[in-house]
Amino acid sequence: MKEIFFDQIAIGEQLPSLTKPPITRTTLAYFCGASNDHNPVHVDSDFARAAGADDVFVHGMLDMAYMAQLLTGWVPQAAIRSFGVKFGAIVYVGDTITCHGEVVDKVEIDGVYILKLKLKAVDQKGESKLTGDAQVRVSAPKVGE
């Protein structure tokens, strides 16, 4: 992973985007067990239909886990100070999620250099599914070295 220096990042800079494979029922079955979220609305189509939905839908926490991968692909996990999302629209089986991030502010607090990020996940049609923000710590400016 490339070290990121505070002065080498401009406001407006885009993080490398992350596109995940299409979400299948198998993905949801795995995530059900792996995440401890066994809510049948995510894996049991019969249950989902009886509950009035068209079909099972994706765990919001799976989308958030994908967004976390956007961050940890860019900075080490220990550099993440905070990370939050809003689940704007339901994600369905077959959807392909792409995560985007942008640097929207840079601040220095007591010698800690922080980038503020705006996050967004969209499906294959470009429809927004999740929005969020994060703060990550980066290395001190290289200037003068």
Binding site: A34, N36, M64, S82, G84
Partner: protein, 146 residues
């Protein structure tokens, strides 16, 4: 019933072992390629005690009980009707395989939108490790669609 009197209600502390096999399973489920999330040697080489739990894993630990929806049910919500609308984390110390995490969840807000058609609950969870260190504090918002 979901109402303002629930604000401040804390649930009994939950002590959870961070299982290495489950971290590996989680990594597989999300298509993780960085070995610090599924291979102990790689994680140790990066300075961690063991396999590193990914950023959203606190919620998974909070669900590590026979019925992950017991808190929602305790306040009268139907787990099949609630939607997760927001989730946020603040990070302090890493969580690793083999850790024992104590989670304490408190209801911090209850509010309505559209004249009560949608009822929201916000729950904050503090997760401390076996060394007494704060690892993460996270906030979950759910809506009752009823």
């Amino acid at each position: 019933m979901l109402d303002k009197t629930l604000i401040g209600k804390s649930f009994p502390a939950l002590m959870v072992d961070v299982e290495k096999w489950q971290l590996k399973f989680f990594a597989k489920a999300v298509g993780e390629e960085n070995p610090i999330y599924f291979d102990e040697e790689s994680a140790i080489a990066e300075g961690y005690r063991s396999i590193l739990a990914p950023p959203t894993y606190g919620v998974t630990l909070g669900c590590a009980v026979p019925d992950p929806f017991f808190r929602a049910k305790a306040v009268g919500l139907d787990a099949t009707r609630i939607l997760h609308t927001a989730q946020s984390f603040e990070y302090f110390e890493p969580i690793c395989g083999g850790d024992q995490i104590t989670l304490v969840a408190t209801i911090t807000d209850v509010f309505e939108k559209r004249r009560g058609a949608f009822k929201f609950m916000v729950e904050e969870t503090v997760a401390t490790n076996q060394l007494g260190q704060l690892t993460t504090r996270f906030r979950q918002t759910v809506v009752d669609r009823a």
